[in-house]
Symmetry: C2
Subunit: 232 residues, 2 copies
């Protein structure tokens, strides 16, 4: 199933933007009267009938609408962007496929990348959402210094994954309904950063015995929670 994106549909604006219209009419050769499917990016699917088939603007009327099945947990991943942006983009795509609600790029002491262009990254999140037939696009926040981020999360369930030889528990021991999981940069969180998180009452975790790259750790964290909630 091909999904189009129309964030304004719930505001009563029943038309696709120029990019989606072009893809619909020029590439997929849809015509007036054809049925297509779209998402609003906020959890709703729509079955719509094309009423205006122009490459610049596709108009439609709603035939049917339904909400996507709600995941039984909320997951926020705070992750240090990788030096190679490709690896961070891979993480975004795979996390979207497996299931994530919110992503915050964090800037750590040992971060090798401090600048993030969210435009391109949001396109990747949208493409992955459509491709995996989901209706909610994960929210990508602006990059924020890790110490600021962690200091503001006093009342939430926060897990910090790190490689220092501190006492840690496996993430698989937890089944939080609302979790924030922090994944550090290539050189790991600094001792100062870990100590700050622990002073705030957050939980130190590991993600298994393998040494994982940052982006792999992010995906493994998403999948560990997904598996906790998966019915047998």
């Amino acid at each position: 199933m091909q999904l189009f994106y129309c964030p304004e549909v719930y505001n009563g604006l029943f038309e696709l933007n120029a990019e989606e219209s072009r893809h619909c009419i020029k590439v997929l050769r849809k015509e007036a009267g054809d049925i297509i499917h779209l998402i609003d990016g906020k959890g709703c699917f729509y079955e719509v009938k094309i009423t205006l088939a122009s490459q610049k603007k596709v108009g439609f009327e709603i035939v049917n609408e339904w909400r996507e099945t709600i995941r039984p947990y909320k997951l926020h991943i705070a992750i240090a962007p990788t030096k190679s942006i490709d690896r961070f983009e891979w993480f975004l795509e795979k996390a979207t496929e497996i299931g994530v609600d919110e992503i915050t790029p964090i800037l750590c002491e040992r971060s090798e990348r401090k600048i993030i262009k969210t435009d391109r990254l949001n396109k990747i999140l949208l493409a992955a959402t459509k491709q995996s037939l989901k209706a909610s696009i994960p929210v990508l926040n602006e990059a924020v210094p890790f110490k600021d981020f962690i200091s503001e999360l006093k009342d939430e369930k926060v897990y910090i994954a790190h490689c220092e030889p501190y006492e840690k528990q496996s993430l698989k021991n937890f089944q939080p309904s609302d979790a924030t999981i922090c994944i550090g940069p290539e050189g790991d969180f600094s001792i100062d950063e870990i100590d700050l998180a622990l002073e705030q009452g957050h939980t130190a975790i590991h993600l298994g015995s393998s040494r994982l790259r940052t982006e792999t750790a992010g995906i493994v964290a998403c999948h560990t929670l997904a598996l906790q909630y998966e019915s047998k």
Copy 2:
């Protein structure tokens, strides 16, 4: 820790090949008397002292050796290579990080890629093995038609992951000590292929409720087994 690769060390040949020697001497500026670490790709680590420091050939003597911790399960992933080879390469890297023993590219009815160049892929496996500080390089087999592959596996524990609405169980219900998991191409296994696998007594599985790309399904399969065996 930087690891070098020396497959011949267990045959008593105590020297690095030209590529590893150049990296050791020219890039990392190692000298005679320095200690370096290497793997044989078959599960052994060696601490060695450089006795000959040439960019063309590094000679060494063994100071110490130890075997890597053996994973409590064997995992063979049979997976259809993706149309975009990048995605397949990404799978190889991530599967190596998370843990896999053997990979067989399978050619399916709906495969969009039928040709695999194993030279480059083996380099990716080696790089990922070193990077994740493992000593065993996963074995990459030559590509084989899926029906031939599945027909020859009568006595092994084989799981076939597919998206058809057949009765399936979650892979997380199983904890096999020796598993082969089959992952189909972008368009999924054909009904014929699934039926053939089931006739052989193999087990149909799903990997959760999300629609996953081929390479993501491969990673999720590796991680599901890793998590089953992870101590709390």
